[in-house]
């Protein structure tokens, strides 16, 4: 899968409401520090890692727009726009859709009653399979619709711990066989599904999971995470040949997000280029 990344600078970032257990109006983020942390990530990605990063203009009054992972799913020139569950974030979609439309993407929308929060709740493991979290933010119904749009298998995993409200806060596929995850964030069926699909599993302790080390960006053999995972994760990643990059994310973690939440993959697969997508007309945005 070839890809570039999509980010939004934290100009208007701050804790302005509480929509997850991490957010507290009593614990404000330091905007200047947040800016430095974001820039460090941007610098690492565009510099040492060498990925192309596209930027969207931040919009005032939308503090969480910085978490572009939740914008939707971008694959092969198509963009499936998120349906945010919380009304505080719903206005973000307009800006994201405008940006993707301008870039020439085809825009697809889910029925309004199906909540779906983009890459926050749907992650690819390899080129063919996607794993999707549901119940806390996204609806399981959206998984079936997205699976049909993508013409891919989308495996649904129930999230049961409010602290890990998006799949990308507790689950990070390294490739189609290996995954970093925090088992307790999933119900027993989802744990069985993960065990059945990933022969190689790196299980996080609660302490590690709370450091948000699963909220990581995986590019090639780079694993970009907030500081943590000293107990098991780091060694497990090194044994598998990964280079671990730790970036301070303290200000974004006040909103329940870290490295992964700040980027969206703009992905292109080889099969996508041949136009494997089936009938999308049902979902296409009315223009």
């Amino acid at each position: 899968m070839k890809f570039s990344l999509f980010m939004c600078s934290p100009e208007y970032y701050g804790i302005e409401y509480e929509i997850n257990p991490w957010m507290s109006l009593q614990r404000q983020a330091d905007r200047a520090l947040a800016r430095r942390q974001w820039e460090a990530l941007y610098g690492l990605l565009t510099g040492e890692i060498g990925v192309k990063v596209e930027l969207i203009e931040p919009a005032p009054g939308l503090p969480d727009m910085v978490f572009t992972a939740n914008a939707g799913i971008a694959l092969n020139g198509d963009f499936i726009s998120s349906n945010f569950r919380n009304k505080e974030r719903q206005d973000e979609s307009r800006h994201f859709k405008d940006w993707f439309k301008k870039k020439g993407y085809r825009i697809f929308e889910l029925p309004p009653h199906q909540f779906f929060e983009g890459e926050g709740d749907l992650l690819f493991a390899g080129d063919t399979d996607a794993y999707a979290g549901y119940l806390i933010r996204s609806d399981v119904y959206s998984h079936a619709a997205v699976a049909e749009m993508l013409d891919r298998r989308v495996v649904s995993l129930e999230l049961v711990d409010g602290r890990f409200y998006h799949l990308d806060t507790c689950f990070c596929p390294l490739n189609e066989k290996s995954v970093v995850y925090y088992p307790t964030a999933f119900d027993t069926y989802a744990r069985q599904v993960i065990e059945a699909n990933f022969p190689d599993r790196i299980e996080l302790t609660e302490e590690e999971a709370l450091q948000f080390v699963a909220n990581a960006i995986v590019i090639g053999d780079h694993y970009i995470q907030p500081p943590g995972g000293a107990r098991y994760l780091r060694r497990a990643l090194q044994e598998r040949g990964f280079e671990v990059h730790e970036l301070e994310m303290s200000e974004f973690m006040k909103a329940g997000g870290a490295t992964k939440c700040l980027v969206l993959k703009l992905a292109e697969t080889s099969e996508g280029a041949s136009g494997s997508v089936r009938d999308w007309s049902l979902f296409r945005e009315k223009t």
């Binding site: 063919t128 298998r153 989308v154 649904s156 995993l157 129930e158």
Partner: protein
């Protein structure tokens, strides 16, 4: 019973969503039938399942639906049943839904409701406020009653598959003389005990051969020990039983010696006359005239009996109901708690009672003539278990198995 149908789409098999939903249904005391399951061919293909769930409790079903909805089960869009008014007494509206003996549900005001008193060959009458529905035969319907017409919004609950432990699981109504009767008697005895334990009633439908073949003492034992709680028969069973009780003969033949008594053919007429003189069977028992036999045991042990008449009856006994419609109605009113019907040595009464029973009542038909069992099944009582054997050895074995 309340019931709803849900659909699930997507990659629910790989996601274990289907087992999750089915487990939830079972853990909450509801039941399900997977009506359709289509599994996607390619890895990326979605699958499809349609599942019907049933619960005794409407509120519990609602809660369950809300919960499994979160895991992807959506209610199938269904429509209410169509209703029409009967224009005259005893005549269903055109296109009326003709019932089976299976548990039936109708959809009224968006809710599936169990139809009360399932019975074959009836119509479904709906209360004016649409709060309930019941099976009603021709004879009970009045002009102005609301009936279900057409097939929309009506569904049937197929019989539950019995557990492996149950005689009904390996027996069907296919008649055979080669079934191992010993095991069958043992299994039926187990069902009888189970019914008694659960407080359900055992109904016996019996013909006069019970007396001719000398099985009356076994039958009496079953009554005395509480294994027969209700008796449906005709004039003949009672007349022969009373003849035997009063004179020791059945149709003039001494049952203990097997030889005809002098002027024995008169005995059954004299027996009937004696009861008519007393005013009825109960009165004969109370007056000390009738001191033993099946009818005596019924009176003594408070087992209600119903004797339905036929055109060739001698007498008949004063207890016999000669109006067939009235007899049918009285039978219906007595069936509510019946869990097992044991039909022995009677063709017409077996078929008649079979017609009135819901399919959920386990029906055992014992007859020396295989045609009886076949007839019963052909007339819709598909749930009947047929045993082709003489009634006397069967009842003897059953009594042994029950230790009575």
């Amino acid at each position: 019973m309340y019931s709803e149908t849900v659909e699930i789409r997507g990659h629910f098999i790989d996601s274990l969503l289907l087992p999750k939903i089915l487990d939830d249904i079972l853990q909450n005391g509801a039941e399900f039938v997977v009506e359709e399951l289509r599994v996607g061919k390619r890895r990326a293909d979605p699958s499809y399942a349609r599942v019907r769930l049933t619960s005794k409790d409407a509120a519990a079903l609602d809660k369950l639906l809300k919960r499994i909805r979160q895991h992807g089960a959506t209610l199938v869009h269904e429509q209410d049943c169509e209703l029409a008014k009967a224009e005259q007494d005893g005549v269903f509206p055109d296109g009326f839904y003709s019932t089976t003996n299976q548990q039936t549900f109708v959809r009224l005001n968006g809710k599936w409701m169990a139809v009360e008193r399932p019975e074959m060959d009836c119509g479904i009458r709906v209360l004016p406020d649409k709060a309930g529905a019941a099976c009603v035969p021709f004879t009970d319907l009045r002009a102005g009653d609301l009936f279900v017409v057409g097939h929309h919004g009506v569904k049937i609950e197929p019989l539950e598959r019995p557990s492996k432990e149950d005689v009904f699981s390996f027996m069907s109504s296919v008649v055979s003389t080669e079934k191992p009767k010993g095991t069958v008697a043992r299994d039926i005895a187990r069902s009888f005990r189970d019914m008694r334990y659960r407080g359900r009633k055992i109904l016996a439908v019996a013909g006069p051969a019970v007396v001719h073949t000398g099985a009356a003492p076994q039958f009496v034992k079953l009554i005395e020990s509480g294994y027969i709680n209700l008796l449906f028969a005709g004039n003949a069973l009672a007349a022969h039983d009373i003849e035997y009780a009063l004179f020791g003969t059945s149709l003039g033949v001494y049952l203990d010696r097997g030889i005809p008594a002098e002027h024995g053919h008169e005995n059954h007429m004299r027996a009937i006359n004696t009861i008519r003189k007393c005013g009825g069977i109960r009165q004969a028992v109370e007056q000390g005239v009738l001191k033993k036999g099946i009818m005596h045991a019924c009176v003594r042990h408070g087992v209600p009996f119903l004797l339905a008449g036929s055109i060739r009856d001698d007498g008949p006994l004063p207890d016999v109901i000669t109006d067939v419609i009235e007899a049918q109605q009285r039978m219906r009113s007595m069936l509510s708690e019946v869990g097992i019907a044991l039909m022995v040595a009677t063709t017409l009464h077996s078929v008649a009672v079979g017609n009135l029973l819901p399919a959920t009542v386990k029906t055992i038909c014992v007859d020396i003539n295989p045609a009886v069992v076949t007839k019963l099944a052909d007339r819709g009582s598909f749930q009947a278990l047929g045993i082709v054997t003489d009634v006397e050895p069967f009842l003897r074995e059953l009594c042994q198995e029950l230790n009575v």
